[in-house]
């Protein structure tokens, strides 16, 4: 059994509960304070409760399929001209991505708090599917908010959630995308706070969500550490992950934060190019602001209105980012770069052809960066890429984007 949640000792001693340096916090309507206090208390108890940890561990093993393999991508190395490069195969998890680590953890917590109703937001539908899956497993009522546009574009995931017993509610306010679905989920939570737990899908939102979601995903980094030490006998020189809200990145970064020699690189979506204004690169070009309960880097206009995000990958299409990433950025512990739609699409193809793995479009951003920067990323030791999800969900979208019509 593992300790799921070692707080990062680099954080200042004061205010560690709600912040990462200056970032994070609890900027929420008063109505939610009691629920956040309750959640924090329940989580603090659970994270050191051997029975809770054993159950979480058992479900990760036998329901999710962990540990996931660490696979050496030799043909990718050949193409990139440097190595070793390893893939942490989160795509092999049940439901096809890392997201389920968190929904299993929070589902267990909801049950522990006696909450029978779950709400969630989803963009492309991956977190919605992972939440619906956990709710089926734990016999919890499940309502998923999804931008009306995304409901149209991701009809298959909508049906998948319905098969799992969830109700999908389209959101057509604001920009009809993930940030508005999140607003609507928060509105539901404010209204039904006594009966309902909100399973947020990334390391975002008010405390304790960013820390808790990170802790549930930190299993990715812990396994990686063990696996790389076993095969290479040394720590990685670099760890690379894509960043939308940033949950897969925080999960794999966290157990390496204290190892100063391990470079941590987050790859954001540059969309049509950061200079066009149509992108999702909050850490690269955003400014600190407050959205969904936390202070963090945020895309916003000159009047402090949240600016719409853009990416070919729906999972990165979010104007904010987890507050711990903002802290890692400002302290220089991690660096953040941005890769555009076209480069991500090329990497999507190359990974499929070279390794027989169709990656999620989100992950393809990180792959594109590795293909370009492999020499530097492997100069001090092996590079590990968090292969956060599989790309089956994106196949129809890519066909459409590339003018193959709606063949699927």
């Amino acid at each position: 059994m593992t300790d799921i949640a070692t707080p990062a000792p680099t954080l200042p001693a004061a205010d560690t509960r709600h912040r990462f340096g200056a970032f994070g916090g609890r900027y929420v309507p008063e109505t939610l304070i009691a629920a956040l206090d309750q959640l924090e208390e329940a989580y603090e108890e659970a994270r050191t409760d051997p029975a809770f940890l054993a159950e979480f561990d058992e479900l990760l093993r036998n329901f999710v399929g962990r540990p996931t393999p660490l696979f050496r991508a030799r043909r990718l190395e050949e193409e990139a001209g440097a190595g070793p490069i390893y893939l942490k195969r989160e795509d092999l998890n049940h439901t096809g991505a890392h997201k389920i680590n968190n929904t299993i953890g929070q589902g267990l917590l909801a049950r522990r708090m006696g909450k029978k109703r779950i709400i969630a937001e989803t963009g492309a539908g991956q977190h919605g599917v992972a939440t619906a899956t956990a709710c089926a497993l734990f016999d919890l009522e499940c309502v998923v908010y999804m931008g009306a546009e995304d409901v149209e574009r991701q009809a298959l995931n909508v049906f998948r959630m319905e098969l799992l017993g969830a109700e999908v509610r389209p959101v057509s306010s604001g920009t009809s995308t993930l940030k508005d679905a999140t607003n609507e989920a928060i509105r539901d939570w404010v209204t039904n706070v006594e009966s309902t737990h909100y399973i947020i899908g990334s390391v975002v939102g008010p405390a304790p969500f960013p820390r808790m979601v990170r802790d549930f995903h930190a299993v990715i980094g812990r396994e990686t550490r063990e696996q790389i030490l076993e095969v290479e006998g040394r720590l990685p020189g670099s760890v690379v992950a894509c960043v939308g809200g940033g949950s897969n990145a925080m999960g794999i970064f966290h157990p390496f934060v204290d190892d100063a020699e391990v470079r941590l690189v987050g790859v954001e979506a540059a969309g049509e190019g950061v200079e066009t204004g149509r992108h999702s690169a909050s850490l690269s070009v955003g400014e600190p602001g407050i959205l969904h309960g936390a202070l963090s880097y945020l895309l916003q206009d000159s009047d402090g209105q949240v600016a719409p995000a853009h990416s070919v990958s729906a999972g990165l299409d979010y104007p904010g980012v987890g507050p711990e990433h903002s802290h890692l950025r400002d302290t220089g512990r991690a660096c953040y770069v941005a890769v555009d739609d076209q480069a991500a699409l090329r990497a999507f193809h190359r990974m499929s052809e070279l390794e027989g793995i169709i990656p999620a479009l989100e992950t393809a951003h990180a792959i594109a960066y590795i293909l370009n920067e492999a020499k530097a990323l492997t100069s001090a030791g092996p590079c590990v890429l968090n292969l956060s999800g599989r790309g089956d969900k994106d196949v129809a979208h890519v066909a459409r984007v590339e003018g193959r019509g709606s063949l699927l």
Partner: protein, 276 residues
């Protein structure tokens, strides 16, 4: 009761506590309408503020629209997006207030979310808001204890910081919320977002009475109040009645004139006069 001043020089505003005291002296509660700046236009907002003052409103909440109004229901969301679409900005909202202040002394609470004023620069915002004639600031997503530094900026800049209390607020937390609060305490009538409801919760009056024993500030109640009868019920226990979504609704249907008439009706309801 609002003093009108024929000159265009700024009118010295009354304080929030004066506004409550004036009503209390007559055994009445304060009427506090919420007006979304820029909905449907800046001129209409100004006209509505003036109509509200004439109709017996004691304090005005002027909402500065934000792209992600997560504490608001469909009606105020609609007003917000329309105002933003028509180009309303933080500065634009302050300009409406400045124009209102040339003729009216009714105290004004600026009501918004943290990000627009944070991005503006909170210190600058508070200074400009004060210069424009604001008395207080209410930030929906800045609960007590979330950011003492930002709260200090508001107080030191000379605006009263209005805080909210919810039915879910733990009893043990009430003193912490009341401690740093200015002006009045805004009691949220129910868990949920803003928006009209057909019925008020039965426990409401009892909750307000219980709260009154613990806090010295006037207590205003809002969220979901939409009829003169509801306003009368709330006014029986609370010091102030906030009306938001229902007013936006009237403004959409009947323009400034209809909205003003609705406020006059609420005023009569609260004062126990026959409601037509």
């Amino acid at each position: 009761m609002p003093a009108t001043n024929p000159s265009t020089s700024p009118t010295a505003p009354r304080t929030l506590s004066d506004a409550f005291a004036a009503r209390r002296a007559h055994g009445q509660a304060a009427l506090i309408p919420y007006i979304c700046a820029g909905f449907p236009t800046a001129d209409a907002s100004l006209a509505l503020m003036e109509a509200a003052a004439e109709a017996g409103a004691d304090i005005l909440e002027l909402g500065i629209p934000f792209s992600d109004p997560l504490a608001d229901g469909p009606t105020i969301q609609r007003a917000t997006f329309e105002a933003l679409g028509a180009g309303m900005t933080v500065r634009g909202a302050l300009e409406i207030l400045r124009r209102f202040r040339t003729r009216y002394d009714t105290p004004v609470v600026l009501f918004t979310y943290l990000n627009p004023v944070h991005h503006f620069g909170l210190t600058d915002f508070v200074r400009e808001a004060k210069e424009a004639g604001a008395q207080a600031l209410l930030l929906t997503d800045l609960p007590a204890g979330a950011d003492a530094g930002l709260e200090a900026v508001v107080r030191e800049g000379g605006l009263e910081l209005i805080r909210l209390l919810a039915p879910t607020t733990a009893r043990t937390r009430i003193p912490e919320v009341a401690e740093g609060a200015g002006g009045f305490l805004y009691y949220i009538s129910r868990t949920g977002v803003t928006g009209a409801r057909t019925a008020l919760r039965e426990e409401l009056a009892r909750e307000v009475e219980a709260l009154r024993k613990e806090v010295a500030l006037p207590i205003a109640v809002g969220f979901g109040i939409s009829t003169p009868e509801q306003a009368r019920l709330v006014a029986a226990s609370a010091d102030g009645v906030v009306v938001g979504s229902a007013l936006v609704d009237r403004l959409e249907k009947g323009g400034v004139e209809g909205a003003g008439a609705f406020l006059a009706e609420l005023r009569r309801g609260m004062d126990g006069e026959a409601v037509s």
